[in-house]
């Protein structure tokens, strides 16, 4: 009975939303002059058809897990963090700078130091809007957006003027030491080709999601964050400090977003490259919405988005439909999720 009700509340709306959005996507493909069957085959079967391409899906999902978690924790505290883009940018810069400036440290220690410094940088970057809200009541949406611009502008300035690799046209730093680059999973898993970019960050992302789940549900601070998000008035009256919760949850959010920077610098480019981000911070909002801010749900939502973006490439290569159809499916999924919840869970009366 309880299982059934959990199913109805949690999974039914999501599965409905996903199937309907895919169906509508198929319909649109038909209108665009392509057989829906072909589209689905490319989008789903081909993408999930080989271990190799599944691994690509996971690779795509990795940054989205981080930003999805970052946005979700903000939402849980009742805050809308639109600043992940800036936080991950600052995080990436901190990673590269630490890795280059302390390159004399032994590799394992250096790896740890870079990760910590990235999380600190992103955390502080996130905590500032939190503090501004606690201190002056300034709305976090505006401030996190502003902080995005500040982050990109100042990091690019620093890289261009102080850290640019000499003799290069592109604004990027020198490569980081070999010893602290994240190992690719292909070196453990024989079925992946040597060049496959999936590396241990994905495992790290899963770990962070699980830790965050435990943190939210099993720790005092996680409980306080949730209560502040659910009913601030009651939380404050119960003795939970509003300003501390604001600053802390935004800081945590920023620190997790910064891991995207670590992923890119230590795991993919092996250096800081200006403009490396492709909107993961904003996609993270969609991921968190689809996951209903559940840390473990974020993993699946991120994989769904990862699948679609892998599929988008293939669609463009192999069919006549434009890749934008994937964007439509993504947006529809969220729209339908919201609607189907309304419809399915309507029996929510006020109690007296």
């Amino acid at each position: 009975m309880r299982l059934l009700s959990i199913y109805v509340h949690r999974f039914l709306p999501i599965s409905l939303a996903l199937s309907i959005s895919l169906l509508v996507g198929g319909l649109l493909a038909f209108v665009a002059g392509e057989s829906p069957i072909v589209v689905f085959r490319t989008l789903l079967l081909d993408t999930l058809g080989s271990l190799d391409s599944i691994a690509y899906v996971l690779f795509n999902a990795t940054p989205l897990i981080f930003t999805g978690l970052a946005v979700a924790i903000g939402f849980r505290a009742g805050l809308f963090n639109i600043g992940c883009e800036g936080q991950l940018y600052v995080g990436a810069f901190a990673t590269a700078w630490t890795a280059l400036a302390f390159s004399w440290l032994p590799a394992p220690l250096l790896m740890l130091v870079t990760i910590v410094s990235a999380m600190l940088a992103g955390g502080i970057w996130g905590a500032i809007p939190g503090w501004l809200k606690a201190r002056f009541g300034a709305h976090e949406v505006i401030n996190t957006i502003m902080m995005n611009f500040i982050a990109v502008a100042s990091v690019d300035y620093l890289v261009l003027n102080f850290l640019k690799e000499p003799g290069q046209m592109i604004s990027q730093t020198a490569k980081i030491p070999e010893g602290i680059r994240f190992p690719r999973l292909s070196s453990f898993l024989d079925f992946l080709p040597q060049s496959h970019p999936l590396e241990i960050s994905f495992i790290l992302a899963l770990l962070v999601a699980c830790l965050l789940f435990l943190f939210l549900n099993r720790s005092v601070w996680g409980y306080e964050i949730r209560m502040m998000g659910l009913n601030p008035e009651a939380a404050i009256r119960a003795g939970i400090s509003e300003s501390r919760t604001l600053v802390f949850s935004m800081g945590l959010s920023g620190a997790i977003a910064a891991l995207v920077g670590v992923w890119d610098v230590l795991g993919y480019h092996y250096r800081f490259v200006s403009g490396f981000t492709s909107g993961w911070g904003f996609l993270g909002i969609a991921v968190a919405l689809l996951a209903k801010n559940h840390p473990l749900g974020v993993i699946f939502a991120a994989c769904f988005f990862g699948l679609l973006s892998k599929g988008a490439l293939d669609l463009e290569l192999f069919t006549a439909v434009p890749r934008e159809i994937v964007l439509i499916i993504e947006s529809l999924a969220i729209l339908f999720l919201i609607v189907s919840e309304r419809v399915l869970l309507r029996d929510r009366e006020t109690r007296g």
């Binding site: 099993r218 005092v220 409980y223 009913n231 009256r237 003795g239 939970i240 400090s241 109690r351």
Partner: protein
Amino acid sequence: MPLLETRHIVKRYGAVLANQDVHFILQPGTVHALVGQNGAGKTTLMNILYGMIQPDEGEILIDGEKVQFHTPRDALTHGLGMVHQHFMLIPPFSALENVVLGSEPRHLGLLDRKRATRQIRDIMDTWRLNLDLDVPVEDLSVGMRQRVEILRLLYQGAEILILDEPTAVLAPPEIEGLFSILRSLCSRGKSVIFISHKLKEVFEIAEVISVMRDGQIVATIDSDQASREEIAAWMVGEDGDRRSQHESKSSAGPSKNSLSISPDDVPPLLSLRSLSYREHGVPQLDGVDLTLHRGEILGIAGVEGNGQQALVDVLLGIRQADSGEIRVHGQPISRPCPRMMRDLGMAYIPADRQREGSSLASSIEENFLLGRQHQYSRYGVLLTQALSEEVAHQLDRYEIQAAHPNIPMQSLSGGNQQKLIIARELASEPAWILAVHPTRGLDIHAAEFVHSQLREWRDRDSAVLLISSDLDELLKLSDRIAVMYRGKFIRLFDAAATSEYELGRWMLGPPTY
């Protein structure tokens, strides 16, 4: 022919039968009271009548015709309107705007203020219902907000008005005001369904009384043919014996004589010296002096809006007094905050259990944890096992009807929500208890139990600051009663030597003899 009739209404929530086979008949032009213990199914039935929820089985007939309500709007078009216990008004809008909201008379697409005012004035004259239409609702007292709600229903053409525990939030004079409105409504053919836990009120206003128990209507009697004892007996039913035993056991114990002041060398638990607080330039607290000793219950009487809310908030530390001094255990507190006050031994029963005391979407266990999360943790990790055991124990002790400790708070009945919050606050071994309308929404039996708990804490040398709009309750529980008027305590009574009448007079300001 009955105006409204329900047949075989059944509503299940999982294994819980909130309504089972309910037959309810409402005659035109009557005030029909619905009474029953917490969790009996009253609100569920009313929500069904109002189209908020759909019954699993059964039918509703209006004037003998079968109807089906999918939304409250459907119910309204059939002349059925409901005032919820938690008002659904928009605070910054004026009373007028709130009344016409959703069915505004328009002129060129804009609100036709003149016509609206005229229409509403007509209604107000017809029903002798006074109200200042231009004031924003947030500046109105609770009693006045209730009038806005009633006016809104009348404006939308309601013939049947459902009022779910309307008097719980009102002070005695406001209750009188409400009753005279209800009488005038009924004398002109409208009907009212009235839910209350106070049998005194029920007998005063209702012509017919229906008693609900365990989801069924077990009796419907004309009020002049029944006695209070009879109704009370119907409400408890066969469990009556078990419950009264429980009650006598819990209220037994050393009774403490009132007004025994602690020895001089023991500082009072709480003392306030000329505490003042202004909001938007308006004084809310105007030099409040108060001393709360160990082993006493100090009642605060007053018409709502005379500074009680500010006093509570300043004591909690969510607003800071402009001047004056707060001492706890003799120590001055310079910048109080809720966490600090709680650590100093305060328990707090808020006036509004939903807004100020709980998270409706969270489970019972999580709500029980609120404010006590540090006690139930080690190294920052929650002790879920210990919590579950304590919750199970308290659910049993307070007879809170819950299918499972993991169901969300919002699926508890109003009274059971209140019991849970009291259980949570009193389980924390408080040094003193700030109780604001602690028995709001509780049935007689549960209110009795909470009273006995408060007395027990007093007898164990804690203290209670009791703010209540229920004079009976104040007189029954308190050792001393202070009357609050315009942000000041204007009179301090020995509870044994005063009366409801005297308190009532002082509540309206210092009497001019």
